[in-house]
Amino acid sequence: MVRVVASADLRRFTGGLEAFDVEADTVRRLVKALEARFPGLGDYVDRRMAIAIDGEIHQDAWTSPLRPDSEVYFIPKIGGG
């Protein structure tokens, strides 16, 4: 199971839940699983957030793989100058 840690901003979707486990082996499947469990969350993170997989930041990366023991964390997408 992938460990999902929700930042303060995302807990409005999770009913305040900070961390939970989800079955997923890619970012795409993670997004779908999040949407199924907390309606609105999957869609929101898909459109607006980057995802840190075990510390490494991925953006717009449906195909990025997740390990069974991965920890994921969502942060706002980063741009830059």
């Binding site: 840690v5 930042s7 303060a8 901003d9 459109r47 607006r48 840190a52 075990d54 510390g55 490494e56 930041i57 991925h58 953006q59 717009d60 990366a61 195909t63 990025s64 920890e71 964390y73 969502f74 942060i75 706002p76 997408k77 980063i78 741009g79 830059g80 100058g81």
Partner: protein, 766 residues
């Protein structure tokens, strides 16, 4: 496709194999740039082009009651007049890819006002005429009736109860309870961990401060410029100076309601951007004027327009409270950041929040950010957007903590430093970072041990930037004589063509002068995100290397055909194919030139193209050390000496990496000492020119020692990390901390201009 590819047998990440990467060849676009031949935005012309000019709001906040352009249209030589009514009304739609994610509706309204002008200088109409003089005359003939509204400039004034509202239907996002009243606060964000009260209760000492910074401009020397042509069949050509031709294409299509395939954008050479050219201003106006007039239209901003209507970055008000043990161990941090967004939501307070404590491992913290609209130009990205501002506050407080505890400021940072495996304040866990190595590099400088004289002070500060990857396309085409062309879709602002050519040459095993890099228009290469976020050498470089690897795979296949051996028996090394088939041991290596010369017979042209979405950009850490001297008579601060160390992963072209660091330092020093938007009571910028908006000149600065620390990023073929943004993060605080140590007084309001220094010295000296 994936950004990870099985690599042929070339020695990645092994410095002893590198022949090109890490050297300092002359840049391939250099000769044109030192002879005046390079063509920037304003250097391009089309037959029959008109001159386009913009009428701008004289008020900081006003309802546009009516616009009467009859007289202007009737003026001989005027070919078109447009207003906001000539553009489609867009729905709210967020365009991805930035902490200041662009709302396209807001972007369209910033390009040209609709029912309200939201800042002094906001475009309200535009004309196209046969000459500049007639265009100016036409602007004066447009009669706009305004209903002037109360305005608000300062961030805390905009947050106050009863402040004039810019967007009466805007409600603060991110609060626990849904607000029942509209507000100028577009969003509140919060990052928190641990028990803050317990953290402060456990502290032996607490430092606290309120810090302010002013809006500053990116200050690129080239004003925005474009030539646009809307043909009778609706096909559009745009030539413009920007950080991304694909960005210009996407945004123009949205703002004008066109299909993307109808717009082709050719990137001009860009005369500096620093984030300020990641959005559009003139391009859709020029296109609409071309549509209305039937002629190509050229538009160039004046410097005054650049200041009044583009950029800048946020001014901010911040509070920082730090708790620590006697030995310097941080126990708690509470950071509050209020950033001006300008006329539309989207300040970089999100990134400011995420970077604020990124260098520190703290058990309990809370970072609260406010994105606040004000009647000032909509902020644009500026080099590590948001990070220098919050770093100024946090690093000033850290310096006060070091002074209070009597601890060396580098030792204090080391004691609380993040390492590999530390969970960053903004969430992810750090890997392959070179922060403590960078701290050590500054500690090891002779600079750090050099004694200071009277009225002098030495300050240090640290900074962090994420760096990003993202979508890039690159092609490597082998010419029939064995030379190569590298094509990318990323404008070259600081020498990236050199690094692209070098990475291709290194991979192919040929000399760098056999590789010619070019930046293609939107019809000639696949999509690439803009040049920004310190992504180009990392992400586009990755696409270049993978394209070169595909070329090598093809070259090996061709060599196998020529030798009539299995391709598994071909090795690529030093720019040649080597035959490993024991049965053909006499075959001499085939050079790239020899294989290319036979390409027609062996299967046609040899090319490789890669499109990818690069992940895993390595973050950058910067540690700066600054000596200043205060002139007690005038209050003038002289920067005597500056050393800047940064983890760059691997410097592809070290001279241009140093240049990025030196340039970032210079901008940061300007931000610290001189630069600021000064507004009068009417919300008009009073210093909209380079005489009064004082960017650093050559005589203001010393040599800047750039120290490159190389902790490789394993995600990049040569270990590169982004380098362009981290160097502007520490200087604001490094300078302010040096002034603190020279004067004995903490000055928390930038810029530290002579009158402020004088006031402090007067108060101190009596």
């Amino acid at each position: 496709m994936s950004d990870v590819l099985d690599r042929p047998d070339i020695g990645h990440n092994a410095d002893d194999h590198l022949k090109v990467v890490g050297t300092r060849p002359i840049r391939p676009d250099g000769a044109d740039k030192v002879t005046g031949r390079a063509a920037y935005g304003a250097d391009f012309n089309m037959p029959g082009q008109l001159v386009g000019k913009v009428l701008r709001s004289p008020h900081a906040h006003a309802r546009i009651v009516s616009i009467d352009a009859k007289k202007a249209r009737a003026l001989p030589g005027v070919k078109a007049v447009i207003t906001g009514a000539d553009f489609p009304n867009l729905a709210d739609e967020f365009h991805e890819g930035g902490e200041a994610a662009s709302n396209l509706r807001d972007m369209a309204m910033n390009v040209i006002a609709r029912d309200k002008a939201l800042y002094h200088g906001h475009a309200v109409a535009a004309v196209a005429a046969i000459s500049s003089a007639i265009a100016d005359e036409a602007l004066a003939l447009i009669n706009v009736t305004y209903e002037v509204l109360p305005h608000v400039v300062e961030v805390e004034d905009a947050m106050a109860e009863g402040a004039p509202l810019l967007h009466p239907r805007m409600f603060t996002e991110g609060l626990e309870a849904k607000p029942d009243k509209p507000s100028n606060v577009a969003k509140r964000n919060r990052i928190a961990r641990g028990d803050l009260d317990a953290g402060f209760a456990a502290a032996d000492v607490i430092v606290e401060g309120r810090y302010t910074t002013k809006a500053t401009h990116q200050g690129y020397i080239e004003p925005h410029a474009t030539v646009a042509s809307w043909a009778a069949d609706g096909q559009c050509n745009v030539w413009s100076s920007s950080q991304g031709q694909f960005m210009v294409r996407t945004y123009c299509a949205k703002v004008l309601g066109k299909e993307i395939s109808d717009i082709r954008v050719t990137p001009a050479e860009i005369g500096g951007g620093f984030g300020g050219k990641t959005v559009i201003y003139l391009e859709p106006l020029a296109l609409a004027l071309s549509r209305e007039s039937g002629h190509p239209v050229k538009m160039i901003m004046s410097r005054e327009e650049v200041f009044r209507a583009t950029g800048p970055t946020s001014g901010a008000v911040m509070h920082v409270r730090l708790g620590a043990k006697k030995d310097g161990t941080l126990t708690a941090a509470d950071v509050e950041l209020k950033y001006q967004a300008g006329a539309f939501p989207g300040s970089p307070v999100g990134a400011g929040s995420m970077t604020a404590l990124a260098c520190y491992d703290i058990p309990a913290f809370r970072i609260t950010g406010y994105d606040v609209v004000t009647n000032t130009p909509k902020v644009a990205a500026y080099r590590a957007p948001g990070a220098p501002i919050s770093a100024f506050a946090v690093e000033s407080a850290m310096d006060d903590l070091a002074l209070k505890l009597g601890i060396d400021p580098i030792a204090l940072r080391e004691k609380n430093a993040v390492h590999n495996g530390t969970k960053a304040a903004y969430g992810p866990t750090f890997q392959n970072i070179g922060y403590v190595e960078t701290l050590q590099a500054i500690r090891d400088t002779e600079h750090y041990r050099t004694p200071l004289g009277p009225n002098q002070g030495r300050g240090m500060a640290v900074g962090f930037w994420f760096n990003v990857g993202g979508e890039s396309t690159a092609a490597v085409n082998i010419n029939e004589d064995g030379t190569a062309v590298v094509v990318t879709g990323n404008p070259d602002i600081g020498g990236s063509r050199a690094s692209m050519a070098m990475m291709a040459a290194e991979t192919l095993g040929i000399a760098v002068d056999k590789v010619r890099p070019m930046v293609a228009d939107t019809a000639s290469i696949g999509f690439s995100m803009l040049t920004g976020g310190s992504r180009t050498t990392f992400a586009t470089g990755m696409a270049v290397v993978q394209s070169a690897e595909k070329v090598i795979a093809e070259l090996k296949r061709r060599a196998a055909l020529i030798w009539d051996v299995n391709v598994d028996h071909v090795m690529w090394k030093d720019g040649s194919a080597w035959c490993l088939d024991p049965a053909k041991a006499d075959e001499k290596p085939l050079s790239l030139e020899a294989i290319a010369g036979q390409s027609a017979r062996t299967g046609g042209p040899i090319t490789g193209q890669t499109s990818l979405n690069a992940q895993g950009a390595g973050p950058g850490f910067a540690v700066h050390l600054c000596d200043v001297e205060i002139d007690p008579e005038t209050g003038h601060v002289t920067v005597l000496r500056y050393s800047a160390a940064q983890d760059v992963g691997k410097a592809i072209h070290p001279a241009y990496v140093e240049g990025q660091i030196q340039g970032g330092v210079a901008q940061g020093v300007g931000w610290a000492l001189n630069e600021e938007y000064i507004f009068d009571r009417d919300g008009h910028m009073e210093n909209a020119g380079f005489l009064d908006y004082r960017v650093p000149v050559a005589s203001d600065l010393p040599m800047i020692d750039a120290i490159l620390v190389e902790v490789a990023n394993p995600r990049h073929p040569f270990g590169a990390k982004g380098v362009g943004e981290a160097p502007i993060v520490p200087p604001l605080a490094a300078v302010a901390n040096a002034v603190r140590r020279a004067t004995g007084v903490r000055m928390a309001d930038l810029p530290l201009s002579p009158p402020k220094i004088r006031a402090v010295l007067d108060a101190k000296g009596g």
